[in-house]
């Protein structure tokens, strides 16, 4: 990538996104504090510091649940795509909340013993061999370490250094962090409480996350197995050109390789790889803006005729040949030679 690195590439949208995030966190924590301090039954009232560290933990868990909801929701409906755009700020905020939660736990529950607080955190409860009274703190520590690695590598510098595939594989550890946090709450806070509120909220959140991921994954698998009609010579049937909305695409699945996005720009038909070089975003769900296909995830752009990102960027994706025959668009499943410009098919009789 040829552009200079900045801490954050600020846009007005990102600023309002972050303002909403900050406001949400503050409202959540104050509501939790007020609820727990004012409405807890007599005799069960915890100290303010205990309520505060629980509020931070609950806020981090809720934020992580929201973060994990965004991915499958955006795959199920494009309405949720704006949330995805700045998801990494949610992730870093979640890590910071969890870090303060951990620091307060260390201070309050382990800071006054003769033992080193860090050792005490892992060793003060030795029943690692029992589910009942399991030292759930250790699970939180592992989850916090995962969140740390993810927050530390959330800058696009890391996407470029590690490569999108390894970056994504590293960041898929978040699912294990989530499972660890669910276990951390279920074996920790839930065990000591009379009210089933925490158990219900955490259980329902985990169930919702699992359900949405399974549904979204099942839909993707179905799309991958529903191959485009292919002739022996490698041409895939796309459909009538005017079925493709202007500036948008139809996505077809070739027998092998990545999906292909077939775009209509006025009377011209182009075909490019459906996979964005940045993080694998589905280009075919994006639009043509200023003559460039724009990724719906983070706004990376490519020229549809040669697959090159406009200067100063250097990314390039595969382009495919198209043709129109008897009012039907076909795309060839083999990509055109790299860097070569592919002439668009023009819809006959249409106004340019």
């Amino acid at each position: 990538m040829a552009h200079g690195y900045k801490i954050i590439q600020w846009t007005p949208f990102k600023k309002s996104y972050d303002a909403a995030l900050l406001l949400g966190v503050l409202v959540f924590i104050s509501a939790y504090l007020v609820g727990a301090l004012a409405f807890a039954p007599q005799g069960e009232r915890a100290l303010p510091i205990q309520v505060a560290l629980r509020a931070l933990g609950a806020c981090a868990f809720s934020l992580l649940t929201l973060i994990l909801l965004i991915g499958p929701l955006a795959r199920l409906s494009p309405r949720f795509l704006p949330l995805l755009y700045n998801r990494r700020h949610l992730g870093v905020t979640c890590f910071l909340l969890a870090l303060i939660h951990g620091a307060l736990v260390l201070l309050w529950y382990h800071g006054f013993s003769d033992l080193n607080p860090f050792v005490s955190l892992l060793a003060s409860n030795p029943s690692y061999d029992s589910i009942q009274g399991f030292p759930f703190e250790s699970l939180g520590v592992i989850a916090l370490l995962i969140l740390f690695v993810m927050a530390a590598t959330s800058h696009d510098f890391w996407n470029n250094v590690l490569g999108p595939n390894m970056w994504k594989a590293l960041h898929m550890l978040v699912y294990w962090a989530y499972a660890l946090i669910v276990a951390h709450v279920m074996l920790g806070a839930v065990q000591g409480e009379k009210s089933p509120l925490h158990a219900i909220v955490v259980g329902a959140s985990a169930a919702l996350i699992a359900l949405l991921h399974v549904v979204a994954g099942w839909r993707e698998t179905r799309r991958d197995t529903k191959l485009a009609d292919a002739k022996n010579d490698g041409w895939l049937r796309v459909g009538p050109p005017n079925d493709i909305p202007n500036s948008r695409a139809h996505i077809v699945t070739p027998p092998e390789g990545e999906r292909i996005a077939v775009f209509r720009d006025g009377a011209r038909i182009y075909a490019i790889s459906n996979v964005c070089r940045h993080q694998g975003g589905p280009l075919g769900e994006g639009r043509i803006i200023d003559g460039c296909v724009t990724c719906p995830w983070h706004g990376f752009q490519y020229r549809p005729q040669d697959g090159k990102a406009p200067a100063p960027f250097t990314e390039r994706i595969a382009v495919y040949r198209t043709r129109i025959e008897d009012g039907v668009v076909f795309v060839h499943s083999d990509p055109a030679p790299s860097g070569e410009e592919v002439a668009p098919s023009v819809i006959a009789g249409a106004q340019q």
Binding site: I131, A179, A183, V190, A210, H213, G217, D224
Partner: protein, 49 residues
């Protein structure tokens, strides 16, 4: 998502669902045991008086 990422998700989620279910079930069973033990203890204490 590209094909490799979709495959990674398809491999991960069945395992993750099992893990989430078994952890939650084990925790709730443990909690039910603690609660019933506590109720018994209260009953024993009440019987002593």
């Amino acid at each position: 998502m590209n094909r490799a990422q979709r495959r990674a998700h398809a491999r991960l989620w069945p395992i993750l669902v099992l893990v989430l279910l078994s952890v939650s079930a084990a925790a709730l069973v443990a909690k039910a045991r603690i609660d019933s033990a506590a109720i018994e203890a209260v009953a024993v204490l009440a019987g002593d008086e």
